[in-house]
Symmetry: C2
Subunit: 635 residues, 2 copies
C-alpha cells in the first residue's frame, strides 16, 4: 500500500480503524455545524468514508510541514463540505476539537464557511462550484512538467458540480496533458441543493462522460471501505496516461437514518436534539488521531528557484510604432529568463504575442486552447506551487473567467493576466471582440492591480513589475501600433502616472490611457493651436491610482476631460472619480468621454470617432468646459 | 426530402446545383473579405459544402418573413465565419452582391465582422466562441415546450470552440430536455487560430464525447455533398430522443490549394492577387439564387400571447420583515399569470425563491442545474422567441456568465436576472458566496438596467417593471428579512429613487440601497439624536440613476455618505459619482463606505460592522464630514 518513495511515520491504519475514523468525521461534521448553527453536514457525511480511507492510507502529506513541496495536494472542489475537511484536520491532529467546535463559521476565524487559504493546508478557496478541479489541473501541470515531483493532486468533487462546463474543460486539459497525477473523487450522492441531480446515481453515464474526455473512470461503492481502498490505491498509482476519476456512489447524510438520502437536508445543520440522536446512531464521539503516509522530503524550498539570470528588458526607440501587445510578448519572453515564470494562453498566442515567450521557453508555456476558465484556473494552480504565472487572451474573453478571478482573490493567488484587443480600437472585428467592460471587472476584484500602458516602453516596465506584484494583476494591451512615448530610462511604478504635458497656465487636464492617451496628446496639440494650455496625464495605473497627481491636476486646472475606450461605467473615469471622492470639495468640472452606444465594425479611426473618444472630440469637450465657466462668469 | 409540413416554394435543388452553390459560397467568402481587407475566408470555406446543402435542401425558412414563428433557426456559433453567412444571405437573395462587396466590415454596416441581429435573419450575436450552441438550446427549449412548433435549430459550430465548457453545458441540457429539434454541425477543420486543435480530425473522440453527453453523433465527410445531404436529412428528422451533432471532417480553406489545410491562414483575407488565383481554381464568380423549403405558416405572430390575465402583485404590511428574495419569488409567481413569462434557475430555486414560480407554473419553469453560462444562454434563447425570461441564481454566480451577459447586450436580448445572497450580508457562508462585484459587472453591460431594492414592496413593483424593460436587466436581492418600508400604494420606476428622510435643514445625505439603506435609516436616527438632520435616499435604481434627486441632495446638503455592500469599485458610489460628473462644480464632500478587505464568515451584523458599512460607521462618517467643514471654518 505504501509507495517505496514514502516514509511511513507509523504503521498504516487498518481498515477497521478507518471505519471508526469515518464515523468520527461524520460525528464531527454534525457537531461543528450544529454548534455553528449553519453548514452542510449531510454533504459531508456522504464523503466521510472516502476521506477516511484517503487520509489514513493514501494521501502522502507531512502535516507538520505543509510547505514541503513533495506533499500531495487535497482540494475540496465541493467546498460546502467544509465540516468534513475541518473534521479531517482534527483527525490528523492539526486543529483541536475545541477550535472545530468554537470557531467554525465564526468572525475572524480561519474555519470559514467554505475553505480558504487562511488555513495552511488549503491551496485554493472553493465554494463556487466547478473550480477546485480546474485549479487542481494547474497544480498537477506544475507537478508533472516543472517540479517533476511525484506528488498527487486529490480533488473531492460534488456530483452537482459536474454540470459546470469548467469541470469538462478541466478533464479535457488533464487528459491532453496526460496528468496521471490528478485524481478526482466524485461524491455521487444523487442530491443537489433543491432535489435530485441530472444523472442521479447513473455511474455508467458519468463513466462514459469522463472516459470520453480521456480520464480513467473507477466506479466504486463510496461506503465500502475495502472497495474504496482498492480504488484509491489504483487511482494514486500514476500508472495511467491521464487523470483518474473515482466515481463513488454515496448517500447524502449517510449514517443517520433520519436524513440519509432524504431531500430538503442540503445546507442545513441538524437541530441539537436531532444531532444528539445522530451521534447515538453513529456510535458517539471519537477523538482518534491518525495520519497516513508522509512523502520522502524533496529537500527543496516551496518556491521554485528563479535562477540567477538577469532580465534584459526590450528597448524601444522613441517615436517608433510598436503595439503594446507586442511589447508584452517581448517582455514576457525576456522575463522568461527567470525560471519561475510560466505562461499560458487561450489559443490566441499569435494575437496576444505570448508566442514570443513560447518560442524561447516552450517548456514553461502551456497552451490552454479556447477554455478561459481553465486558463485562469491553471494560473491559480501554478501560483499555488509558487510559480509566477502569466495568462493571456483577448481582453474581452477574460469575462468568461470572471468567477475564477473573483475566487482567485479569495484564494490569495498571485496571477498575472494580459488582455489584448481592448475597446473599439480593434476595428473591423466588431463588438464581440471588443473588451469594453474589462476595466470595471478587473478593478472590482478584491486586492487587484489594473494597468493600461500606452506605449511599448511603459508596457515593458510594467509587465516586469507585474512579476513581483501580489494578487490578481491585469494589464490591458492594445491591438494597433502607436508611437513609443518614453525613453527606456524612464521609470514606471504600479500606482504611478506620467504627466506628459504641463505648464503653469494649464486650463484643463486631459486624462487617458492606452489608445486614448494618444488621442489626448493630439487634442492637447490642437488646443495649443487655439491658445489653450492642456495638461495631459498618462494614467497607466488604473488601480492603484496615483491620487496625488490627479488631485494636483484638479487643483491646478479645475477641469478634467476623462477619456476611455471602455463603457462609461466602472473604468478609468470611475477610478478617477472614486479617487477624488474622499478629498473634500474640489472646484472641478468634469467631462467623461467613453463608449456609450453599441459599436459596430469599421476602421480604428472611424470607431474612435463614432464613439466620441477621438482627439477632435476631446478638444471639443475641453473647449466646452472652458466656455461653460467663461459663460458663467459673463452671465 | 421535404417534410409533409413544408410548402416547397420551388423544386428542391439537385445536388449538382448544390455543389455549384458551395463553390459560390467559397468564392463570395473570399471576394468580400479580400475587398474588406479583413475577415476569415478559410474558416468559411471549410463549411461551405455543409451550408450549401443545408440552405438548399433542409433549412425551412421563409426568407421574406423572418418573423414567421415556424421558421427554422440558423445560428453561426463560429461567428468568425461571417463571410460564409453573408454569402448564404446573398445566395438566398436577401442581400445583394453589391452590399456584400461594399459593406462587409464597414462603418455603420449591418454586415459586421461577426454576425449581430442588426440583420433580421440573425438571432443572436456570436463571435465569442461557445455561445451560439447554448443560445440555441434556449431557442429549442422554447420550440419544444412552449411554442410547440416543429422548427429545428441548426447551429454551425467550430471544432476549436468544443474546448469551451459552455458547449458541454449546452449538450448536457439539450439531452436532459430531449431536444431532438436541435442540430449542431461541427466543422472539424482541424486548425484553430494558431495551429492544430486538441483533437485534430479524431471524429471518433468527438463522437464519444457528444454521445456520452446524450447527443446522437453523425460523423460525415464534410465535403461529400451526398453524404452531407443524408446526414442533415437524418439530423433534422426530429426522430431521436435528444440533439444530434453532425461531425463533419473538413479542410480549412477547402477549394484553394494554396491555403487548403495550411496553418497560418486563420483570420486572414487573401491578398488580391491570391484571391484572383483562388477564384480561377474555384471556377470563377457565380450568382446563383436558390432557396430551400419553406415551412407551413403558423398563423401566429412572433411574440407569444401574453394572455389577458391580470397580474396581482403581492402586498406587504409596513414593518413586516420580508426578504427581498422572497418578494422576488412571490412577484415572479404573480407575473406568471402572463403566459409569455418564463423562469429558469441554477439549481438554487429554494434560495432565490424562483421556486414560488415553479410551483404554480411548472410548465414554464426550466431547471438549468449548476451551469450559469447555459442559464443565461437559455434566457437569451427564450428572448429570441419573444418570451419574457427571468433567470436567477446567487448574485455571485452570475459572474460565471459575464461573457454571456456582454454578448446578450450585443444580441439585443431582453433578459431579466435576479441575483440573491449579495454582499457580506449573507453571513456565515463566507466570501465565495458573497457577490461583491456584481453591481460593477452588470452596470458595465451596454444598455443594462441595475436595480437593488431594499424592501418587499419596492421589489414587487420593480420586478413587475423588469418584465417590460428591454435589454439586460438585473435585480439584486438580499438574503435576510428586513422591514417593509413602503405602502403598496407607492410607485417605483426604473430610473427613480425615494427620499425617505428630508428636511430643510439637512446637513448630510446618506445614500444606500438594499441592506445598507436600512443601515442608513438607523444612522439617520442616531444622528437626529445628536441634533443632525440627515437626508436618506433609497437608490433602488442603480442604473439608470435618478440624477436629479442626487443633484438636489448634493446642492441642499453638501455632504454625501455613500454606503454599499460591494467592493468600492464600480458599484453604487461609482454610479453616483459618474452621475454627478457632468453636472459642473459642486460644493460636495463625499465619504464612501464599502467592503474594502476580504471578508470572512460571521453573522450579518458582525460582517456589516467589520466591513465598516453598518449604521454606527455611517453616522461616524457623517459626523466626520460635518466636523471637517466646521474645523475648516474654525481654522
Amino acid at each position: 500500500m505504501v509507495d517505496v518513495s514514502v516514509t511511513p511515520s507509523r504503521p498504516t491504519a487498518g481498515l477497521d480503524e478507518v471505519r471508526e475514523l469515518a464515523q468520527q468525521l461524520r460525528v464531527d461534521s454534525i457537531r461543528c455545524s450544529t454548534e455553528a448553527g449553519s453548514g452542510h453536514p449531510t454533504s459531508s457525511m456522504s464523503a466521510a468514508d472516502l476521506l477516511a480511507v484517503l487520509i489514513a492510507r493514501h494521501l502522502r502529506y507531512d502535516w507538520e510541514h505543509p510547505a514541503e513541496p513533495a506533499n500531495d495536494h487535497l482540494i475540496f472542489s465541493k467546498g460546502h463540505a467544509s465540516p468534513l475537511l475541518y473534521a479531517v484536520y482534527k483527525a490528523v491532529g492539526v486543529i483541536s476539537d475545541e477550535e472545530l467546535m468554537t470557531r467554525y463559521r465564526r468572525l475572524h476565524s480561519r474555519l470559514e464557511g467554505h475553505p480558504t487559504p487562511a488555513l495552511p493546508w488549503v491551496d485554493v478557496a472553493t465554494g463556487s462550484l466547478g473550480q477546485g478541479l480546474p485549479d487542481g489541473v494547474g497544480i498537477a501541470l506544475a507537478g508533472k512538467y516543472l517540479d517533476e515531483l511525484p506528488f498527487r493532486v486529490w480533488v473531492l468533487c460534488g456530483d452537482s458540480e459536474m454540470a459546470e462546463g469548467s469541470m469538462w474543460e478541466a478533464l479535457d486539459k488533464a487528459s491532453y496533458y496526460h496528468l496521471s497525477n490528478l485524481v478526482a473523487i466524485v461524491d455521487v450522492n444523487r442530491l443537489g441543493q433543491r432535489g435530485p441531480t441530472e444523472l442521479s446515481w447513473d455511474l455508467d453515464a458519468y463513466a462514459r462522460r469522463v472516459g470520453a474526455f480521456g480520464a480513467r473512470p473507477l466506479p466504486v461503492d463510496g461506503h465500502d471501505v475495502t472497495a474504496i481502498d482498492a480504488a484509491l490505491g489504483d487511482a494514486g498509482s500514476m500508472t495511467g496516461d491521464g487523470p483518474t476519476v473515482v466515481l463513488a456512489r454515496t448517500r447524502k447524510g449517510r449514517g443517520f437514518s433520519e436524513v440519509e438520502d432524504r431531500e430538503d437536508w442540503h445546507g442545513k445543520p441538524l437541530p441539537p436534539e436531532m444531532a444528539e440522536r445522530a451521534l447515538i446512531e453513529l456510535g458517539g464521539e471519537r477523538h482518534l488521531t491518525l495520519r497516513g503516509p508522509v512523502p520522502e522530503p524533496s529537500g527543496r524550498p516551496w518556491r521554485p528557484d528563479r535562477g540567477s539570470a538577469q532580465v534584459a528588458l526590450p528597448r524601444y526607440e522613441l517615436g517608433a510604432r510598436v503595439a503594446t501587445r507586442k511589447a508584452y510578448g517581448q517582455t514576457l519572453a525576456a522575463l522568461g529568463e527567470r525560471r519561475d515564470v510560466v505562461a499560458m494562453d487561450g489559443e490566441v498566442s499569435n494575437s496576444t504575442f505570448a508566442e514570443d515567450f513560447a518560442k524561447v521557453h516552450p517548456e514553461r508555456f502551456f497552451e490552454m486552447f479556447i477554455a478561459e476558465q481553465q486558463l485562469v484556473a491553471a494560473a491559480v494552480g501554478f501560483s499555488v506551487r509558487g510559480y509566477v504565472p502569466f495568462a493571456s487572451t483577448f481582453a474581452a474573453f477574460f469575462t468568461r473567467a470572471h468567477d475564477f478571478l473573483r475566487m482567485a482573490a479569495i484564494s490569495h493567488a498571485n496571477i498575472r493576466l494580459a488582455g489584448s484587443h481592448a475597446g473599439v480600437e480593434i476595428g473591423a472585428d466588431g463588438p464581440s471582440q471588443m473588451a469594453l467592460e474589462d476595466l470595471a471587472m478587473h478593478r472590482a476584484v478584491q486586492g487587484s492591480t489594473v494597468l493600461y500602458p500606452s506605449d511599448a516602453t511603459s508596457t515593458a516596465a510594467l509587465v516586469q513589475a507585474m512579476a513581483d506584484q501580489d494578487g490578481v494583476v491585469y494589464v490591458r494591451t492594445t491591438r494597433g501600433a502607436y508611437p513609443v512615448l518614453y525613453d527606456s530610462s524612464e521609470t514606471f511604478t504600479i500606482g504611478g502616472s506620467k504627466v506628459l504635458r504641463a505648464s503653469a497656465g494649464d486650463q484643463v487636464t486631459l486624462i487617458g490611457a492606452g489608445v486614448t492617451l494618444h488621442e489626448c496628446l493630439a487634442a492637447a496639440d490642437a488646443l495649443r493651436r487655439d491658445g489653450i494650455a492642456a495638461r495631459v496625464i498618462d494614467l497607466y495605473s488604473i488601480k492603484p491610482l496615483d491620487v496625488q497627481t490627479v488631485i494636483a491636476a484638479a487643483q491646478d486646472t479645475g477641469r478634467f476631460v476623462l477619456v476611455e475606450d471602455h463603457h462609461p461605467e466602472g473604468g478609468l473615469a470611475s477610478a478617477v472619480l472614486e479617487g477624488l471622492a474622499g478629498v473634500g470639495p474640489l472646484e472641478l468640472s468634469v467631462a467623461t468621454l467613453a463608449v456609450r452606444e453599441l459599436p459596430g465594425s469599421g476602421t480604428t479611426r472611424e470607431l474612435l470617432g463614432a464613439a466620441g473618444i477621438a482627439a477632435p472630440q476631446i478638444a471639443d469637450a475641453a473647449r466646452s468646459l472652458i466656455r461653460a465657466v467663461t459663460d458663467e462668469a459673463a452671465g
